[in-house]
């Protein structure tokens, strides 16, 4: 959907399917009158965007020449990156609607002029040093090196470029700071950005707070629910987070919405793009802002061992951190560059984000590059355990480097990444982000092939604090692949649906179902529209809900403080506490629903760990989903319980077997008021997302400005 928005439209009229008529008119009408800034455009602008590209011709030529002279030693056609049209070979370019052309050329001009502006450079360097905390160390990972040492005592030396020590905990801030500074220079007071997992959003909100700019973050409604903590963080930093409900309500819809906003407010607004993707000049600009990583690495390598690294390793989603490290060394042909993509469940599973390995060339987000697309050119939803790699495209320059054979790209599955996550945490005491774990996982394959003493520099692009919760949940043997699905797909939604069904059936049929039954009932919402007319559905109404009503009420009282100010939205008043109640219910009912389910054997198989599932059970998946998320929660809860009670030395090993023993009584009795981070998180999100249009009601009513 998005690519059609960005790619095909030479005119503004073709690219606004879902915008209201009035705002579309605004688009059509306004551009000619809205060009007050420098590099004035000819009024009789060509309808063809490729022609209007030449507006930015002059400065680009200057820059291109500068680049040529700089890299004169190597083949000039090869390393002119990008050319005057913003192309890297055949990749890149500016496939954007006409309205944006002006903003892009303005940005390009500004970027080139600032590249030589000493004031700007000094200010940027100062902020990078004192605010971001650069330079980040190049750390010799002693125990990791030890781990990969071969039996004869030989092996490569592994160095980590510690981008995780940056402010906000990832490399993203380098670019965000620079772009915000640039926006300030351009006189733009309003910043927009889109975010998937929230990392880029947090980085953007951070720098906007730092520079006092207005900040609007677009985020898929579904992502908002999944990443409640980051939403809170952004709001804390003073950003306005707007939920996007159209389409699949995830990153690409958020991107579309952000671009829509940008088109509308182009002269007051700067769009901070977080990756080396998007139309020219973004890939170039973001790359140059991140290039500080590579520059520091070169200097530090010279200090540490008086030479260059032999191998560079980085993970590739959109590719910004990899490009930041690689760029400095592209001309040093003796330095091997390795990008690692996310293979998700495996390259053959169809659920992965390995764009360069499996994708084809196409146009997405305004640039030509490798993409994950189907035969019709529609974007395939990517999958990765790490939200940061979960992107269906890749930076055009990476596509170029791959085609030139300059860089190598490999992929790593979720499972391998998790192993690396755990390994590096234990060995080095540094918790990597799941993104970075992909690069770390590739060392397993890479290191045995390297000669003794080869120096590997790995871009440690982010810290893993954000992923700890996710990862811990996945460490239980046997549930690994399935619970990844459950976390990514249904987390937080399922319980709400069950509660809805609980209410609905009580109202419609006068039968109060048990909450476990409600899960099955909730599934009817999805399943019924797909069934043929007159199909007969038999649903096992496994238990009555009297016991759950008690739980719900008891629970409501307990959490009255937490829910204060949120009440009176729904007739039953239950929904405010949905996640909590439902979690409670899941715990109460967990055992029952396992034993009563038709799928008992499968589920048992999953948890017994002696009989791990062969595949994610595609067909059964949708049905299993409910059960699994219940189980996942059970596990969570059990884990926490273990922590707090600490009855055995090593609780991890006992959990699986404990599952089948009755523990619910004790659990309920001992339950403290505050349950877990997850619950509070979910409560906050739920409220945040549901509060639309209810502004001013209650304490946190202001969350409502989402649409």
């Amino acid at each position: 959907m998005l690519d059609s928005v960005m790619a095909t439209s030479g005119t503004a009229s073709t690219f606004r399917p879902s915008v209201s008529a009035s705002s579309r008119l605004t688009h059509l009408r306004s551009p000619p009158s809205k060009v007050p800034l420098f590099t004035p455009l000819p009024s009789s602008r060509s309808r063809s965007f490729s022609v209007s590209c030449t507006i930015a011709k002059d400065p680009t030529f200057l820059m291109a020449e500068a680049e040529n002279t700089k890299t004169a030693g190597s083949d000039p056609t090869l390393w002119k990156r990008p050319d005057s049209f913003g192309r890297f070979g055949k990749f890149g370019g500016k496939y954007v609607p006409e309205t944006l052309m002006h903003a892009l050329s303005e940005l390009e001009t500004a970027f080139y002029s600032l590249a030589t502006d000493d004031d700007f450079q000094r200010e940027l360097a100062g902020i990078l040093k004192d605010y971001v905390g650069r330079e980040s160390p190049l750390y010799f990972a002693e125990r990791l090196t030890e781990h990969y040492r071969r039996e004869n005592g030989e092996g490569p030396l592994i160095y980590l470029k510690r981008e995780d020590l940056n402010h906000t905990g990832a490399h993203k801030i380098n670019n965000a700071v620079a772009q915000a500074l640039l926006a300030k220079r351009l006189g733009k007071k309003r910043i927009i950005a889109e975010t998937g997992a929230g990392q880029h959003g947090v980085a953007t909100a951070t720098v906007c707070a730092r520079f006092g700019l207005q900040c609007i973050i677009y985020m898929g409604a579904q992502d908002m629910e999944r990443q409640a903590l980051n939403v809170f963080r952004m709001r804390l930093l003073g950003a306005e987070v707007r939920g996007v409900h159209s389409g699949t309500a995830t990153l690409k819809d958020a991107t579309s919405e952000a671009i829509r906003d940008w088109v509308t407010n182009v002269e007051t607004t700067h769009y901070i793009l977080g990756s080396v993707a998007g139309p020219h000049p973004y890939p170039m600009m973001v790359r140059d802002f991140h290039a500080v990583i590579g520059k520091e690495t070169r200097r530090q390598a010279m200090e540490k061992w008086g030479g260059k690294p032999d191998v560079l390793v980085a993970c590739v989603g959109g590719g910004s951190n990899a490009m930041g490290l690689f760029h400095e060394f592209v001309d040093d042909t003796e330095v091997r560059m390795i990008g690692v993509e996310a293979a998700g469940f495996g390259l053959d599973s169809g659920k992965h984000a390995a764009t360069l390995t499996k994708g084809d060339v196409g146009v997405l987000h305004g640039a030509m590059s490798y993409l994950l697309q189907d035969d019709d050119g529609q974007i395939i939803e990517p999958h990765s355990i790490s939200a940061g790699l979960d992107y269906p495209g890749v930076g055009p320059e990476h596509s170029f480097l791959k085609d030139m054979g300059r860089a190598e790209y490999y992929s790593v599955t979720d499972e391998e990444a998790l192993e690396a996550f755990k390994r590096v945490s234990r060995l080095e005491g540094i918790i990597p982000a799941l993104e970075t774990s992909h690069a770390l996982a590739h060392l397993e394959k890479l290191c045995p092939t390297l000669p003794d003493g080869a120096r590997v520099v790995l871009n440690f692009s982010g810290r893993g604090d954000k992923d700890v919760q996710t990862a811990i949940n996945l460490y239980y043997p046997g549930v690994l692949d399935l619970s990844i699905v459950s976390l990514k797909t249904w987390d937080g939604l399922n319980t709400k649906e069950a509660l809805e069904a609980f209410k609905r059936v009580s109202r419609l049929e006068g039968i109060i179902p048990a909450l476990e039954t409600s899960h099955a009932l909730a599934h009817l919402e999805k399943r019924c529209p797909t069934l043929s007319d007159g199909a007969r559905v038999v649903l096992n109404f496994s238990g009555r809900g009297d016991k759950d009503v008690q739980t719900a009420i008891k629970y409501l009282e307990k959490n009255i403080a937490m829910a204060a100010g949120n009440s009176a939205q729904n007739d039953l008043d239950v929904s405010n506490n949905t996640p909590i109640i439902a979690q409670e219910a899941s715990i109460v009912s967990g055992r029952a629903s396992i034993s009563e389910s038709v799928l008992t054997t499968n589920v048992r198989g999953v948890f017994s760990a002696t009989n791990p599932p062969i595949s994610p059970l595609r067909d059964m998946l949708s049905i299993l989903s409910h059960l699994l998320s219940v189980l996942g929660r059970l596990l969570n809860q059990e884990k926490k319980l273990q922590v707090s009670q600490q009855e055995s030395e090593d609780s991890d090993d006992n959990i699986i077997t404990d599952l089948t023993t009755p523990f619910t009584d004790r659990l309920l009795r001992d339950r403290p008021v505050k349950h877990s981070t997850k619950v509070t998180e979910m409560a906050a999100t739920l409220h945040a997302t549901r509060g639309r249009g209810k502004r001013g009601r209650g304490r946190r009513g202001g969350h409502g400005r989402l649409g």
């Binding site: 605010y131 905390g133 510690r162 402010h167 963080r233 945490s425 893993g464 204060a564 981070t677 509070t680």
Partner: protein, 478 residues
């Protein structure tokens, strides 16, 4: 401190005569750092790299008693041979612990001057922890206070010492790393630690993972609930987390008990400047890198010293880390901020210095929160790291000698300050550090224009987001 001023003067003049070119630098050094070698100083001045060699221990005080010219008064500041700071401190421990403590003391005195050890520590601090951490000019915060006071003048300038950028997100790792290295030297395979906010636990777990030691962390049940993400981090780093009924103080007691039971194989890694000698001294030395960096950076940034140093005080490790370097500079005001919790009158606070009495707890004499029977009261603070009923003996000494001032900030003020800094600077501080920031509200109006205030931003606030969410954001934030 007042009484030691004559000593300072004497040393300065003597030093000035002796070293010629070094006078200018020396003038600003405390008596405490006078014994440093001239070569090192010059080296530090010339070294232009961003990551300077920290020389944590080499440039610090020589071991106790090795400088015979010191008067008794000056020794108090560093602790005398028995680890006493005035009447505070000491070793109030059972007989069995005396010998391991003595071993530890010997080892510590040895490593203070051991090149190899220092080099390894310096490298680790630079490459692993990411030191040095910047001193950041908080331009918008400064502006904010200017606008509030509505003066036309400059108002004081506020700088943040960015300890939140350290590995593991707080200053705790400085000490954990150093002590883990000592533990390794002592041949201990196992480290026990107690943690309140979890920061100390995470730092210890990380250091132990790095040096491949077994790690057990004791933590109060209530804290485990409050800081679940840190618990997960510790487990991920390979540490065993044991829950103890109660809060940090109970966890500490339990950890010490565990240590006493396994003296030969186990090292007790104290995270704060409390406990029996030499623990307060050791922690302070490892943390004092904060102050040393601050002095150097201040010199670079504005060519002088800070005028006011502000830090939060729970038991005092981050405050002492910042203050220690400046103890001898009488023109530098030292301000510690304690947690007043729900208010000093409510009884739910951890403002030990403000309302506590002197007593003995966890092996040393210091100010404590205790009732008439001498039983320890339960402290309370929104910043879990400040929830400790005692305070470091040296901090008590600083209070009593009048060298440092101590104030309080309530939990509510801290939350406000946390939000303010997030909004203005894009830095989410830990709630502990927020107490220090909160006190700026009162402090700033009393300062002259252009005064340089350095606040120790001791940790990042990611761990506290749950707490903030639970409290609910004021409507102004939405």
């Amino acid at each position: 401190m007042r009484c030691s001023s004559s000593v300072v003067d004497g040393d300065r003049s003597e030093d000035g005569d002796g070293r010629g070119g070094e006078v200018e630098i020396r003038d600003e050094k405390t008596w405490a750092s006078l014994s440093r070698g001239g070569e090192e100083m010059r080296y530090r001045e010339e070294d232009e790299r961003h990551h300077r060699v920290s020389n944590v221990l080499r440039t610090s005080d020589p071991p106790l008693g090795s400088v015979p010219t010191r008067t008794d008064e000056s020794q108090f500041l560093r602790g005398d041979g028995n680890g006493r700071f005035g009447r505070f401190g000491g070793k109030f421990v059972p007989e069995t612990l005396i010998s391991p403590l003595r071993d530890l003391e010997d080892e510590f005195n040895f490593v203070l001057n051991d090149h190899e050890f220092q080099e390894e520590l310096t490298t680790a601090l630079r490459d692993y922890v990411g030191r040095e951490t910047p001193v950041y000019f908080a331009g918008r915060l400064t502006e904010h206070y200017k606008n509030i006071s509505q003066t036309t003048g400059g108002g004081p300038e506020i700088y943040l010492k960015r300890e939140d950028l350290s590995h593991c997100g707080s200053h705790k790792i400085n000490n954990a790393l150093g002590q883990a290295m000592i533990a390794r030297r002592l041949g201990c395979k196992r480290v026990v630690a107690a943690t309140g906010a979890g920061q100390q636990g995470v730092a210890t777990a990380a250091a132990c993972a790095k040096f491949s030691m077994e790690c057990t962390v004791f933590m109060g049940t209530a804290d485990i609930e409050k800081q679940s993400s840190n618990v997960l981090s510790m487990k991920l780093l390979g540490a065993q987390v044991k829950s103890v009924e109660g809060t940090f103080k109970d966890a500490s007691s339990e950890a010490i008990r565990n240590w006493v039971g396994n003296l030969e194989t186990t090292y007790y890694l104290s995270g704060t400047v409390v406990g029996p000698h030499p623990s307060p001294l050791m922690v302070r030395e490892f943390q004092s890198v904060i102050g040393k960096e601050t002095r150097r950076q201040a010199k670079q940034l504005w060519g002088g010293k800070p005028d006011v140093l502000v830090a939060c005080v729970g038991s005092g490790s981050n405050a002492l880390g910042l203050f220690h370097e400046f103890l001898g500079d009488e023109d530098v005001r030292l301000v510690g901020v304690e947690a007043a919790g729900l208010g000093l009158d409510s009884g739910k606070h951890s403002a030990t210095l403000a309302v506590g009495d002197v007593g003995v707890y966890h092996g040393s004499m210091s100010y404590l929160l205790q009732d008439d029977q001498g039983q320890i009261l339960k402290p309370h603070s929104i910043g879990v790291g400040l929830e400790y009923p005692g305070v470091g003996p040296e901090i008590s000494f600083l209070k009593e000698s009048g060298r440092a001032e101590f104030y309080t900030a309530t939990g509510q003020e801290a939350v406000q300050a946390c939000m303010l800094l997030s909004r203005l600077e894009g830095i989410i501080p830990a709630l502990e550090a927020s107490h220090a920031l909160a006190f700026l509200d009162k402090l700033v109006p009393t300062l002259r224009d252009g005064a340089k205030v350095v606040v120790n931003c001791s940790g990042r606030g990611d761990k506290d987001l749950d707490t903030l969410i639970q409290r609910g954001m004021p409507s102004s934030l939405c």
